[in-house]
Amino acid sequence: MNFIRFALGSIKIVFKGSRVYYAWLIFLFLLIVWGGFGYAGQLSHGLIKTHMRDSVSWAFYIGNFTFLVGVAAAAVMLVIPAYVYNWKPIKEIVIFGELLAVCAVIMCISFIVVDIGNPLKFWHMLPIVGTMNFPSSMLSWDFFVLLIYLLINLFVVTYLLYCIFYKKEYNKSIVLPIVLFSIPMAVAIHTVTAFLYNALPARVFWNSALLAPRFLASAFCSGPAILLILFQILRKTTKFEIKDEAIWRIAELMVYAMFIYLFFTLAELFKEFYSGTEHILYWKYLLFGLGENKEIVVYSWSSIIMGVIAFFIFLIPRTRKNLFTLNIGIVLIYFSVYIEKGIALIIPGFTPDVLGQIYVYTPSMTEIRTAAMIFSLGFLLFTFLSKIAIAIIFDNYNIDSLKQKVKIKKIA
């Protein structure tokens, strides 16, 4: 009963907002409809509506999935520095980080669902009702860890908000162990996702032990980028307090991550190009194209250039500590990692294909529309959840305000 009141109270908040808020919702809604019709076409005609074919059998969808796993992982890993440096709003950072993680994981699962040929048969990979290939298949592992990660994060944020809503002290002996557990789980979801690609001897482009470490490093660039933007918005519009120092500290940590990522990638490139075996083909396709086929070169270099500019913006103290330049850097690094995970990681794994043939892949309109649908749905969910969290944490929206309204209505 209590929980129902909490849920109903939360739903009420979602519908109240300024004009800007409603404009944002309508914008997202239009994108969802536009994308939804694209996806409907794929549902009725099959994945032939995408540009994937036998040669390049995974592409943009699975790339988006990988990117979002990184976002989900990094959002929670930000709890570590918050704890170590004893930033004041640690509870808020945990809550918003986990909310982002919840939305990102839901988007991840959505990207898997749109990528499979028979979404209705999804239950075949569940244990008990289906025949889950556990522990052999890395996809089973990935689904498993993502599900656990989703559940624990969902539980922690709901529990914390519920307690604040009812003005109760939350039980530390429940929350703390779960939050601590969610940190290695964050590492686990991204590592297992890397292993998904990593352990395929057929695909030499991914068959490098550096893949998982590179995944984690790049996630530490893109995940905090989203949170930094969010924290700045929260700081301006609510009572949320986060000092500039904390923002700069996060930016500083991102520089370390970028440096590690750069170093790992250079190590990989050195090994590939200096040894110059036939495995170099995939990197050549990515960076320079093979013969006439240069279609993805523009993606890879835009990602590299944006990443390098962001690295210097974050590295130089004057630009890092200036919110204007910092925000440019944040946007650049976000899109750099997005293109890297969305296109540059997946496509060279399949081009040339295992029989040496080149099929040129770039995303089709259906793929872009479906991705737009999932991203808008994710943003919509995140907007709603953040709105609820903001009202409960900062605007003192609680059980009493619900009761008061009922009283006022009765008097009237």
């Binding site: 099959g46 040929g117 298949s137 029989l355």
Partner: protein
């Protein structure tokens, strides 16, 4: 086993009843039945018989012909192997189309289980410099040789390891098969296969009714739907009846050899023992049962 099954079906029915009622309201009970069907490996003999009868009725309605669907299991002491004579193959692609015909592969979008690579004599087996779209007036072309590739029927297959639903497995006679009803279409097996042997039904497959073959095997050439993976099965519907796969029969130069690896008197064993044999991508430890050799 019985208990396991009943518990499983109980939980399944409970958890899926609501969902499937919603998803399939308006469809007939057969569609619901098919939707709830279990992994082929877990079905009892009785259930298999019932499913096959339903399939035959369904195909008859769909194509207006009589079909025979077999679920014949592997024959004891049989391990199928294949050998292809690289010195004889002329790259005519007759095998490709015989395979399409026999196995009811989709004509549009086009699916070919066998892919023939044209290679340069000077470079040897070099995939990066091979050409799959060669199209001269006459084959063979000077300075080239031909390497047909289909499923290598590995003893250590990556595709079955990675499948999240156990929808693909190795049969006791060594054939790697797919349960088209159980495959969810995630295509992880296609990422894992080092030979490009697995093919996906990107759209609804089409086969002209008059060309539709009617002798079918559940794990082989029965009609597929969009969104599932398919592959060479050594023509399981023929091999288990003691016949050669259709690619072996059609080859005009006799480059293709097929037989039981456990039979010391078989032609395939003679080739393995007396010819210069190679396998593709040996370094990946997939241990194919598909061998290439030089007969002359």
């Amino acid at each position: 086993m019985e208990k396991e099954n009943s518990r499983r079906s109980f939980i399944k029915n409970m958890s899926l009843a609501t969902f499937s009622a919603l998803a399939l309201s308006g469809c007939d009970t057969k569609a619901l039945d098919e939707f709830l069907q279990e992994n082929f490996k877990e079905l009892s003999k009785k259930e298999k018989d019932r499913i096959i009868k339903n399939l035959e009725a369904k195909y008859k309605k769909q194509y207006g012909k009589d079909f025979h669907v077999s679920a014949k299991p592997a024959i004891d002491r049989t391990l199928f192997g294949y050998a292809l004579d690289l010195s004889r193959c002329i790259g005519c692609r007759k095998c490709v189309y015989a395979c399409v015909d026999e196995n009811n592969q989709s004509r549009d979008p086009q699916i070919h289980w066998i892919q023939v690579l044209q290679m340069e004599n000077e470079k040897g087996i070099d995939f990066a410099h091979s050409n799959i779209h060669y199209n001269p007036e006459e084959v063979p072309e000077d300075g080239h040789f031909y390497l047909p590739v289909a499923c290598q029927q590995c003893r250590n297959p990556q595709c079955t390891t990675v499948c999240p639903t156990k929808a693909t497995w190795t049969e006791p006679d060594g054939i790697v098969v797919v349960d088209y009803n159980w495959c969810i279409g995630c295509r992880y097996c296609m990422a894992a296969c080092p030979y490009g042997a697995r093919h996906f039904n990107w759209g609804e497959p089409t086969v002209p009714t008059e060309e539709m073959k009617t002798e079918l095997h559940y794990l082989g050439n029965r009609p597929r739907k969009k969104g599932v993976v398919e592959k060479c099965t050594f023509c399981i519907q023929r091999a288990r009846e003691g016949k050669y796969p259709s690619c072996v029969e059609v080859c005009p130069v006799g480059a293709r050899k097929f037989g039981n690896l456990l039979d010391p008197e078989s032609e395939i064993r003679y080739i393995l023992e007396n010819k210069r044999v190679l396998i593709l991508k040996e370094e990946l430890n997939t241990q194919p049962k598909f061998y290439y050799f030089f007969g002359i």
